[in-house]
Symmetry: C2
Subunit: 382 residues, 2 copies
Amino acid sequence: MGENVLDEISHRRYNPLRGSYVLVSPHRTKRPWQGQQENPSKTTLPAYDPSCYLCPGNKRAQGDANPQYESTFVFVNDYSAVKEEQASYDPDEDNRSLASFFLKAEPVTGRCYVLTFSPAHNLTLADLSPAEITPIINAWTEIYLMHLSPNSPLASAIPAARRPAKSTVCQLTSPKIQYRYMQIFENKGAAMGCSNPHPHSQIWTTSSLPEELTLELEQLKKYRRGHEDRHMLEDYAKMECEKGERVVFKNDAFVVVCPWWATWPFETMIISRIHKRALVDLDVEETEQLADAITEITRRYDNLFETHFPYSMGIHQAALEGTEEEIESSHIHIHFYPPLLRSATVRKFLVGYEMMAEPQRDITPEQAAAKLKHCAGPLYRK
Amino acid sequence: MGENVLDEISHRRYNPLRGSYVLVSPHRTKRPWQGQQENPSKTTLPAYDPSCYLCPGNKRAQGDANPQYESTFVFVNDYSAVKEEQASYDPDEDNRSLASFFLKAEPVTGRCYVLTFSPAHNLTLADLSPAEITPIINAWTEIYLMHLSPNSPLASAIPAARRPAKSTVCQLTSPKIQYRYMQIFENKGAAMGCSNPHPHSQIWTTSSLPEELTLELEQLKKYRRGHEDRHMLEDYAKMECEKGERVVFKNDAFVVVCPWWATWPFETMIISRIHKRALVDLDVEETEQLADAITEITRRYDNLFETHFPYSMGIHQAALEGTEEEIESSHIHIHFYPPLLRSATVRKFLVGYEMMAEPQRDITPEQAAAKLKHCAGPLYRK
Ligand SMILES: O=P(O)(O)O[C@H]1O[C@H](CO)[C@@H](O)[C@H](O)[C@H]1O
Ligand SMILES: O=P(O)(O)O[C@H]1O[C@H](CO)[C@@H](O)[C@H](O)[C@H]1O
């Protein structure tokens, strides 16, 4: 096989999903660490915090009060990065000037939401059961549906059963225009810039297709064209399930892997094992299996260093609007990018070399997967 | 002009050097911050620390002792990310298998150096005068020269006067093979993963051309082909010097700008105003002007929030080996990526949305440049 030598030597691996490289230096964790220590999050938060703007019943920044919600709750972010209405912008019209080449800008409009996962201030995804995570996935699906273009090939394919009877989003007004993409993500832990521990995700919807999605879509389309219409991530999931060494967990519908090309030490990806374009393509059972996969990976993360494991998580799926080829080439997957490397207090920094030259990692994805495989079972703090 | 409206509205800007986008949300700093606070570095370090492995005379990890150096000092990193010798690797040979598509790896060899800036443990670039920074640039140049391919178009163009009489690198052995690229960089401050405050840079030399350089080179070549052999960064520096609003500092040879497409809040770039391929292309005066520019930007950074301002800094220049087009299209510039946003303790996190979708910034580069312009003068702590 020749693969085991990669546990010992420096090498770079190719990421076919982005078309980029990562440098792997497996021997490098042996170096001593005298640098920054993270503060592991306090494990003793109250179930209700009167000063939290996400707890049920409390007042938010602009004076609105949260309802006494019982499961999830969604609202428009009081400090949205993009807005539905703003002044218009006319770029420099002189096409021959240097400025018209170098000073390119395009306005971006959109809407940002916050979706809480639970009324309890002190719970995280790792604390919730799959049955408690399913309503979160349903809420994401519902919000996506509300923004989906009626012209999308996805729109006609959605079974009526997927439209939830009791709506989470009834309090939201319809978006003013058709947006292009919806990014659902979670920043967990102070080390990942999260400013409120109350469990929540964010949803940023924009008039443009963001950078990372543009890169991935290009690669997904290229693969399909070059491989008789097969889907890259379906082929990849199949190969990983056969090989096994990077698989952390799998059920019938999803597999959790440390991808071959992982950048962050314990980076993982949840991949739908067969081609699904977006959350709305999942049936009731598949949704439960996704909840199961999310439980499995978030618990293992917390168990690994017996801490509230920080990460950023994001769902990549079909755009709200796009060509048929774009929608059909999309394949739902979830990225988890956690910073911790050696312990609850020592993280990996992607800094100088990584920013200037090439992302670099210190343990192999196979080593990371082996560790995560052995952290199964109940949450350490239960 | 239509440019001022960009201070108010969300928009994305194009980075022609990488071919990528950044989302700018100028109104966003208004949101309250209850997240992580950085610990500003202690300003009371001793000039000599007996436990520091970079101070003169001290022992290093593998037992070597540092000489009693007086200016700079270079040695091979005791924990190199890449090495000159390692086991060989034979990838999977079956071209038709899924594994041969997905499990791509190539071995990377190379050498990593550490170069100290000063014998004093408690000084930083901001504390040094241009006359003290010039020997650092000369050392970088000398190390580069030692690794330069004799077949490079650069090799024949170097005036004898640039080969320093008293060599910093005399204690280094020649590299075993011809490497492809040399990345010179500095991580400064615990917030940027620096594990030792003794002022130093790192130099990683590799058999492959790293990701970021590959991206930039592609864009530089494309510009040249499309613009009658003109150089992108020469045109860009010219335009910025004319416009002025993103210029922090300039002298005859260099300009320091907050680039139009900056991602980090106070990101800057030092650009050679005329086309220079690498440090070895600079004459004695230009080298002094570069030292001057480095002094100007690092002092202003420290003055901005009256703190030891963390950053990662990296020099992009011609590869050690490459085609004539690659070498000729290269244009020396230095990136500074500092994380601080609001104060000495509140940084910008490039996390969830930024990792999953698109880099996002909260103030405009024009606003950042205006602040840095007004921080000139002597170092606040002198
Ligand atoms: O080499 P150092 O200073 O020990 O380590 C620092 O810089 C390296 C190069 O950017 C990074 O890979 C490390 O994550 C960082 O902590
Ligand atoms: O939106 P928040 O939680 O206030 O802020 C956090 O997530 C955002 C989206 O990834 C980032 O832009 C911010 O830098 C980060 O602190």
